[in-house]
């Protein structure tokens, strides 16, 4: 009766419409679920919004979550554009944080501006090296980058846990397994009430947007993503581009590690990445790999997280129920990708097929 037909071309506006309507349907379906729990769906939704944007404080809290998601999304977007599935954002964030922490704890005497700059660079290098490993294995041995990047996440987590319990354990913490807190000189200052990670985020988005769109490097990445054969035939050095891009991709994730360690945690913990590396996969994908779209999508996503936790307390909804709402929206939005790629055609009564 119905047949899937691949869309030849879809306008940006139409694909955006499909995505937006998917959110609408998600909310519609969630309404039944909320109703089932004995709450009024509209009330719940509006207080979700309130919880995320209701006051200046809440807005800042939401943005605090949005910043790492934005930067990580930009980082992995670079890899995704080459169809290199870097799902190792977590590990790259943690390694960036680790490198930045090393600088923070060992060069406390440096002036603040220099210390922070050094931490920034260290974070970039840490994340970059962690991204370079799967890239190297890929170009050298054609390993599966999905598995390798995923596994490297756990290695990073466990390595930091080891440092926390072992060599980097703070002796003055009365036996508590924690790494020493940063000195004030290693903490990112606030600008307009929010740590200056937001400025870093905006700068990164702008720079990467421009590079992706206008630079040779961005062009090579796009060609590799489009067709490896075409890239090969046109003489692009695929291996070098993959290696360099993954260093940058991981490096940008590493900057997130630096920001989170310096501004949010003011120390290093294995929990610091808070799943941003995974969340960013979703936001990157939803943004259609477009840097400019990553910002609003990430903020909306952060709002969903923040709003979700707000309704837990406001309506006494269990946290798992709030998670159901979030998952429902995600499920629909990701499912809508199918309708962007294909459209269903009513075929009428079965008769001579032509394919």
């Amino acid at each position: 009766m119905f047949r899937m037909v691949k869309r030849v071309h879809i306008s940006k506006r139409k694909s955006m419409m499909i995505r937006l309507s998917s959110i609408f349907f998600a909310l519609l379906l969630s309404s039944f679920f909320i109703g089932l729990m004995g709450h009024e769906p509209l009330k719940v939704y509006s207080s979700m919004l309130k919880g995320a944007f209701g006051s200046k404080y809440r807005m800042i809290e939401t943005l605090k979550i949005a910043i790492p998601i934005i930067i990580t999304s930009i980082g992995i977007m670079i890899a995704f554009k080459m169809k290199f599935w870097n799902i190792g954002g977590e590990g790259q964030i943690l390694m960036g944080a680790l490198f930045a922490t090393y600088v923070a704890l060992n060069f406390e005497y440096l002036p603040k501006a220099i210390l922070l700059s050094a931490m920034f660079i260290a974070g970039f290098i840490g994340g970059g090296l962690w991204g370079l490993i799967p890239a190297f294995l890929k170009v050298k041995f054609d390993t599966n980058e999905t598995i390798i990047t995923l596994m490297l996440n756990y290695i990073a987590i466990k390595f930091i846990t080891y440092l926390q319990y072992g060599p980097w354990k703070d002796p003055s913490a009365m036996g508590f397994p924690k790494i020493k807190a940063f000195s004030q000189g290693a903490v990112l200052p606030k600008v307009f009430g929010l740590h200056m990670g937001w400025i870093i985020a905006i700068i990164i988005v702008i720079i990467i947007s421009i590079l992706m769109k206008y630079s040779k490097w961005g062009y090579n990445i796009a060609i590799i993503g489009e067709s490896k054969d075409t890239a090969r035939y046109s003489g692009i050095n695929i291996k070098r581009t993959v290696l360099f891009s993954l260093f940058v991709s991981g490096g940008i994730c590493g900057i997130v590690g630096f920001i989170e360690a310096s501004a949010v945690n003011q120390t290093l913990t294995p929990l610091l990445s808070s799943g941003y590396g995974f969340t960013a996969i979703i936001t990157t994908w939803l943004s259609g790999l477009l840097p400019s779209i990553i910002i609003p999508v990430s903020i909306l996503f952060a709002a969903m997280v923040k709003g979700g936790s707000f309704i837990q307390t406001a309506f006494q909804i269990p946290s798992s129920a709030a998670n159901v709402l979030q998952s429902m929206i995600l499920f629909f939005v990701i499912g809508s990708e199918f309708f962007i790629k294909y459209h269903l055609k009513y075929m009428g009564i079965k008769k001579g097929e032509n394919l």
């Binding site: 206008y214 630079s215 040779k216 062009y219 075409t230 692009i236």
Partner: protein
Amino acid sequence: MEQIVFVETKKLTKTFGTVKANNQVDFDLIKGEIHAVLGENGAGKSTLMNMLSGLYKPDSGSIKIKNEEVSFSSPKDAIKKGIGMIHQHYKLVDVLSAKDNILIGKKGKFFLNKNKSFDSIKNIANQYGLPIHPDKKVSEMSIGEKQSVEIIKVLYSGADILILDEPTAVLTPQETKKLFEILRKMANNGCGIIIITHKLNEVMTISDRVTILRKGQTIDTVMTKETTPKELTDLMVGESTNLSIDRPIVKRGEEILKIKNLVAKNKDQVEVLKNISFSMHQGEILGVAGIANSGQKELCESIAGLYKIESGEILYHGENIVGHKPVDIIKSGISMSFIPEDRLGMGLAASMDMINNYLIKEHHNQNGIFLKRKPIEKKCEEMIERLDIQTPGIHHPVKELSGGNIQKVLIGREIDTQPSILVTAYAVRGLDINSAHRIYDLLNEQKKNNVAILFIGEDLDILLELCDRILVMCNGSITGIVKADETTKEDLGYMMTGNMEREGIFYV
């Protein structure tokens, strides 16, 4: 003895887009015979077989199996009627044993009686002398053994009409001989066998009858005993088209590329280029004829620096470029456009616009971090004008253009790099006559500009009319280099199939 007709098709037609892949094809298969289907690439052999095995549905015409009119809606229906297809690329699960592969998809009870199946598989294997052990894993098998498993698989499902799609393409001569013995045994036991091939000597050895297809139509069905390879070649390549192609007379320039004893191996360490030697001259179109996958692609990629070369030299202006980086080779003026079956996979970025596609070659010549797109826009506009490319504009994704226009973009871009050597493979693949002629004109213009052109083609008529010399490849070797105006299609056909009855002629 009365003949039992197994398969009979009448006026079978199948259209893909605007291409008539099969046009009123009549074909029949008699019990106990081996029937070869012969034709060039794109003649419609596979389409016909896919209709018989239920993969495609004919647009019109009828198929009768054992005197019963059928209409398959899936391969399952065809299997039920006793038709078994053995594809060129085996469809086996590597990690499973032969037995499990044979039992896949078979109807049965919830639990399989594996011992019973084991015995019946063993029986079939013994009956035809197929040397396999049912418990051996497919991943541990040789190519010949895998083929045996495929054959047993269709026999086990009760098929008595077997279709083999180029079964010998990957076999050694010994394995081929063995296979033919088995096929003959099966035919004697009452099976009907269809074998698709373009190797003439095999047709002569194994088949009882031959049906020749050309451009989607049945040309003739002949008794193998009453024909000769020459007659078959004639039928296969057909008469020349009336639309003649220009071959401007250009004084042959100096030797610009010389290839000496080139050897290359693929991933499986099989030699794909065997001691290739030839030279290219300025102002000359050198054609390359050969059956698909005879080493054409590897040859192109070797010249472009994209294929690992085992030994031998490629001398460009006397300098060996083996081991040079692809970018440097492009910059030095060697351009390659290879048009694969799907046309867009290599050479173009499908969903990008013309400007970005133009940049694929151009960006190497730009310095600095950023790309300048403005000058390219102008060049693209000029190209649209000059080559009469039908497109809504330079910002339109190239994949949405028609085949001919896509090809124009590709070749136009290569020409714009002002190469001194132009390598083009299957440049007119899938194009209608007019678009194809536009491409020939373009190539001739380049020839007049003293460019050396390597033209890898499929259609022998075109090669003979367009090229100055033709190099014939067979199975990775050069079987002859001939002057186009002193050669006939038959000669080329002989050399292409590696038929060495006549000596390969080398005109250097």
